[in-house]
């Protein structure tokens, strides 16, 4: 449910980025969301459509790139996708959380700047 607040911030950052570019139209905005970020894609999309009304982002598409949470196994030195008991599928040792899966950032914004580019 905190996606309302987060979406407001997202739109603000995008607007700031676009101030200098002054595009004719914003086509899409790509956001990277990790599994552990606590952000629900569907809620983000829901609020995005509502909150972009009247802004330069109105009518643009929100593209979400999902990233899986990966754990690191100290015993066999491998990265593995989160299992329900955190156990490494290869050697059954207990894995540790890594930075994979915490992502939450705007990757890019695609705009039509009027030159057909």
């Amino acid at each position: 449910m905190h996606e309302y607040f987060v979406t407001q911030q997202l739109i603000k950052i995008a607007e700031d980025e676009l101030k200098e570019v002054k595009p004719k139209k914003v086509l899409s905005i790509t956001v990277v969301v990790g599994e552990l970020s606590g952000i629900i894609d569907e809620s983000l999309k829901f609020y995005f459509d509502i909150l972009t009304k009247g802004t330069i982002l109105e009518g643009s598409k929100l593209e979400i790139v999902q990233k899986k949470a990966l754990l690191f196994c100290n015993s066999c030195q491998s990265l593995f996708e989160r299992t329900k008991d955190f156990l490494c599928p290869k050697c059954k040792s207990l894995g540790k959380l890594t930075e994979h899966g915490r992502e939450f950032y705007i990757e890019s914004i695609e705009v039509d700047d009027g030159d057909g580019n």
């Binding site: 449910m1 905190h2 309302y4 607040f5 987060v6 911030q9 997202l10 603000k12 950052i13 995008a14 980025e17 676009l18 570019v21 595009p23 956001v31 552990l36 970020s37 606590g38 329900k84 008991d85 955190f86 207990l94 894995g95 540790k96 959380l97 915490r102 939450f104 950032y105 705007i106 990757e107 890019s108 914004i109 695609e110 705009v111 039509d112 700047d113 030159d115 580019n117």
Partner: protein, 221 residues
Amino acid sequence: MEIKVIKDILQRNEFSADNIRKLAKENKWFLINVMGSPGAGKTSFIKAMINTFKDRFNLAVIEGDVASTIDAEEISKLGVEVLQINTGGACHLVADSINEALLSLNLKKATVVFIENIGNLICPSSFDLGENMRVVVSSVAEGDDKPYKYPIMFESSDVVVLSKIDVVEIIGFDMEKYIKGLKAIKGDNLKLFGVSFKTLEGLTELESYFSELFNSYFNRK
């Protein structure tokens, strides 16, 4: 044309949180962000802390709640200053509202401020409130799988208070599994206190930990 951005979407919250850290440092406030599921025992933890420390330290409470003032009323009976923040539906507190709350509380120098966050194990962990410490209250009644299901909440917390330990047997709570999950997340940094706010079991250890912490922060012997 594609513009590469890569910016932290939560940057505005970070700005307010930094401001709070500055305020807290100047005034020697110690801010404790108390998180956990609804019914885990967040209010009981705060009440127990108030009863133990109100004669020795300045205390205040910021009560976050979606709509009610039930907890704030109960805490104000204990004789400490309380400020209610109703989020009106939001599932977590943000630094902006804590900043405002701190200023309107009119706090003395050297005060411990407990911030009771909204009850859930996801959203509050993502929002920095400029706090000095995070406590997650997790109850036996919720089950032993919580660290595996909500790892970020436990990882982001400095202290884990496992409440309702008087019903471990009744619930069939697997303590070994719970601790194993926590250790996978926290490693050697795990500070876990098992307590029952009903039978008062484990409370002495919890109190002496915080007693030492406050003493050293406020440079008292």
